[in-house]
């Protein structure tokens, strides 16, 4: 058995898992015909058995986390605040609905893990009508939470079954109040991870709580400088197999959300290089600059049909470009990052094992030149030893 202070860190993603000891790091593609634990043991059993249960720390983003649908009454306050809290709790947003136009929205057919209803300061009331109840009647969801005006909570409770009511996320200065909804969502996510049969089995090798990966990464960011040399302000891109996560420092947004968090998180679903490969390709095909980017990289669109290492590389490069594009156009996503002020772009996740620093920087330079018409050139920082994740697990 190794000495007490040494820890084994395991991250289970939707596509691959990584196992990190104080001296080594291993990464393996998951075998979906096997249970996670069996898969882990067959690939890294020797390493794992060297550690005591209490020294093993596991986090997971398998399944891409929980999904939410948010119903609010304005874009600038209720929907924006709830979106911010959901992202920071590691939740993926399926859609946001502006209540006044609720009849124009289609009802998603997928099961929604949690519906969030929000709107109004506590001194305002009657913000919703029966329309919301008939919408919810058609929706397939597991949990519902109300975080709007206290005056409306009774009528909401009377009309929505098993509704959880929490304090308003909008205070009487129209500022955001995060903690209650954030705790609720984080716990829900946690329960979801722990409730999955496959994850339960992992408790055979750890006696610590299994945490969600985005939570771990977000927790590491305030301490990032102790492990990686980055120049503030920075953004962190975690391009995974199924989704892409962006963590950014608050100085980069110019807006009305005033919180104590230093870092926020944003997720682009279906932008990944394995599970979401097809939707990544679709996004690339509808981006007018990608043709030129492919030329710049010396390939043609035929690359989409190849299953080679080269094709994987190109897709990862496209993913970086598409994420930057998505963040650059005003109001296309719910925040607009001041990309010209960024000094570092940190990349973490599997991508750092596949792309070289040069291959990343050429994309960043292309993006700034073509999309922002600027010679600005932030440094790419490759977190290839998973320092950030290691840090987050240890904090």
């Amino acid at each position: 058995m190794v000495s007490q202070a040494e820890k084994l860190l395991i991250d289970v993603g939707s596509t691959y898992f990584k196992v990190c000891t104080p001296t080594s790091i291993e990464q393996h593609f998951r075998d979906f015909n096997q249970d996670i634990l069996d898969d882990l043991m067959s690939k890294c059993g020797d390493t794992i058995s060297r550690f005591d249960k209490q020294d093993v720390h596991i986090c997971s983003s398998a399944n891409g986390g929980l999904s939410t649908l948010i119903i609010g009454i304005t874009n600038s306050f209720s929907l924006k605040y709830a979106t911010n809290i959901a992202f920071n709790s590691g939740i993926n947003i399926i859609d946001t609905i502006l209540f006044q136009n609720i009849e124009d929205y289609s009802v998603p057919s997928d099961l929604i893990d949690v519906v969030i209803v929000v709107g109004g300061v506590d001194s305002h009331s009657n913000l919703y009508s029966e329309k919301i109840f008939s919408y919810l009647d058609q929706l397939n969801y597991s949990n519902a939470v109300f975080v709007g005006s206290t005056q409306d909570s009774q009528s909401m409770r009377d009309n929505i079954e098993n509704l959880v009511v929490l304090p308003n996320i909008i205070d009487d200065k129209l500022h955001i109040v995060e903690e209650h909804l954030k705790d609720y969502l984080t716990n829900l996510y946690q329960q979801d991870i722990e409730g999955k049969e496959e994850i339960k089995h992992l408790y055979e090798i750890t006696s610590n709580q299994i945490l969600s990966t985005p939570y771990v990464v977000n927790r590491a960011l305030p301490h990032i400088e102790t492990r990686v040399s980055v120049a503030n302000p920075f953004i962190l891109l975690d391009i995974g197999g199924a989704t892409t996560d962006i963590h950014y420092s608050k100085d980069l947004v110019d807006e009305n959300i005033v919180t104590e968090n230093e870092y926020d998180r944003l997720v682009f679903k279906r932008l990944g290089v394995y599970k979401s490969r097809q939707s990544l390709i679709l996004a690339a095909q509808s981006n007018e600059f990608v043709y030129e980017l492919l030329l710049h990289l010396g390939v043609t669109e035929n690359i989409y049909n190849e299953q080679t290492d080269k094709a994987t590389k190109i897709l990862m490069q496209l993913a970086i470009f598409l994420v930057l594009c998505k963040m650059s156009h005003y109001r296309q996503s719910y925040v607009n990052l001041r990309l010209l002020q960024i000094n570092s772009i940190v990349l973490t996740g599997g991508i750092t094992k596949v792309l070289s620093q040069d291959e990343v920087e050429t994309i960043i330079a292309f993006f700034y030149r073509k999309i922002l018409s600027s010679g600005h050139n932030p440094v790419a920082v490759m977190d290839s030893n998973y320092d950030i994740w290691t840090l987050g697990t240890k904090v």
Binding site: I73, T74, N75, S76, F77, S78, Q100, G119, G120, V121, S123, H124, S125, I170, K173, L174, N256
Partner: protein, 137 residues
């Protein structure tokens, strides 16, 4: 009575905004102050979230005209703002201009009360009378 106020656009002149906040409170209004650098959509959204009866926009640096032209279109996208008292004040044009023309123009943009370079207290008295007309007690 609830009032949403703030300075529109990329305007950072904050002094009048502080005074407006204080004066409104002194007159008994419930104030939601969005501060400087506020976009039009945020003003309307704040009215929806708070149920304010009055929207009081300030503009000092000369941007007002551009925003004024956007008001009608943006407001038409909302389904419940028709009864809000819309007020604007400060320096409503670049340089100087004929007050009568300015008032007429901003009324067309959809403002009920237009206070071009009018002292704050006079403006608040005008608001008071409008409220008394709209909501006779």
């Amino acid at each position: 009575m609830k009032v949403v106020t703030g300075v529109v656009g990329n305007d950072i002149h904050v002094v009048a905004n502080r005074l407006i906040d204080l004066s409104l409170k002194a007159r008994g209004y419930e104030v939601y102050n969005l501060g400087v650098n506020t976009h039009l959509e945020e003003f309307f959204d704040a009215v929806v979230e708070t149920g304010a009866e009055v929207l009081m926009i300030s503009s000092l640096n000369g941007e007002a005209e551009g925003w004024g032209r956007e008001v009608k279109l943006l407001k038409s996208k909302y389904k419940n703002l028709d009864d809000v008292i819309m007020m604007i004040g400060g320096n409503l044009v670049v340089g100087s201009g004929n007050t009568e023309d300015i008032v007429a123009r901003y009324r067309k943009y959809g403002f009920d009360l237009v206070c071009h370079q009018i002292d704050l207290n006079t403006g608040l008295d005008m608001l008071q009378s409008t409220i008394e007309e709209r909501f006779p007690s």
